[in-house]
């Protein structure tokens, strides 16, 4: 039994599931469901579709470098049945699942670090910028101290977490001489 990978979403394709397309240059495309197949037929780019593994990998949302992935290999040589080998393999598989899950959690925790604080900063900033929408001008005069306090809070948070939207470094366009 061989478990294949879906071309579009990167999910596992189990035997008896999905559809296979062989292009005229004999490249094999496997799809886990008609949803993925349709996206392929429409020539959509999996790197630009948010729910695919290709997108998540590119966006740094998935653990990509890990020793536990090295066990997953395409082996084209059949192995003779050996009772001890089977039991040992199953034992290792269960152990690997546990290890990978633990590392996955650590990765997620690391990725989400500071996200809540950033969200709060964003909300405070929004209040600061659009205070005139929720309070009347006459009421604002009485709230001067509170507004100032909010501004100081944002500033201290900004120094701690860095600016909210760091400006991307502009790439210089290649000139004709290059």
């Amino acid at each position: 039994m061989r478990l294949e990978k879906c071309y579009f979403c990167g999910g596992t394709v189990y035997p008896g599931h999905g559809i296979m397309f062989v292009r005229n240059d004999s490249k094999i495309f496997r799809f886990c469901r008609s949803k993925c197949h349709t996206h392929f037929k429409m020539k959509h780019n999996p790197r630009k579709t948010k729910w695919t593994k290709a997108f998540r990998k590119l966006a740094g949302k998935e653990m990509t470098v890990d020793k536990t992935f090295d066990f997953e290999k395409k082996r084209n040589r059949p192995v003779k049945y050996d009772r001890d080998l089977v039991s040992a393999t199953i034992k290792v598989m269960k152990r690997l699942d546990v290890i990978r899950e633990r590392r996955k959690r650590a990765f997620y925790k690391n990725r989400m670090q500071g996200v809540r604080a950033r969200e709060k900063m964003m909300q405070l900033k929004e209040i600061d910028q659009h205070i005139d929408i929720i309070r009347a001008p006459s009421a604002l005069l009485k709230m001067k101290a509170k507004i100032l306090e909010n501004k100081n809070k944002i500033q201290s948070m900004e120094t701690e977490l860095g600016p909210l939207n760091p400006k991307p470094i502009k790439k210089s366009k290649p000139t004709a001489s290059e």
Partner: protein, 127 residues
């Protein structure tokens, strides 16, 4: 027609849509074009042999779009068009291919709560 362009709904009775979505009518994929643009292959496409069956005897060819043209003027109009520019831009980086899809990645399997307790015991026993 591999890409569906046109009016009407996206349903099987719409002829242009129906034909566009058939894999039998597929045109060259972008990863195939990327392979065409590699040194060794691109020279062959730039200087093609005379073929009477092709438009302009196969002498005027746009490599990024994999298209033949009848005249240089038609080619120039095409080169300044938006679809062509889009194509060229998408070929700046290596397109997604089958090789990218088979790289091992976590398949999203989550351990059940029952396994979770096993996990805890396994971690303590290993430590």
């Amino acid at each position: 027609m591999a890409r569906f362009i046109g009016s009407g709904g996206r349903h099987a009775k719409n002829k242009s849509y129906y034909r566009a979505t058939k894999t039998a009518n597929r045109k060259k994929d972008i990863d195939q074009i990327w392979d065409d643009m590699q040194p060794g292959k691109i020279e062959k496409l730039q200087k093609q042999e005379i073929d009477v069956d092709k438009p302009a005897m196969g002498q005027i060819y746009c490599i990024p779009c994999a298209k033949y043209f009848v005249s240089q003027a038609a080619m120039d109009t095409h080169s300044s068009s938006k679809p062509h520019k889009k194509r060229v831009k998408s070929l700046l980086v290596k397109p997604y291919s089958v090789e990218d899809s088979v790289i091992p990645i976590d398949n999203g399997k989550r351990l059940r709560p029952k396994d979770d307790t096993e996990m805890a015991t396994a971690t303590t026993s290993s430590a």
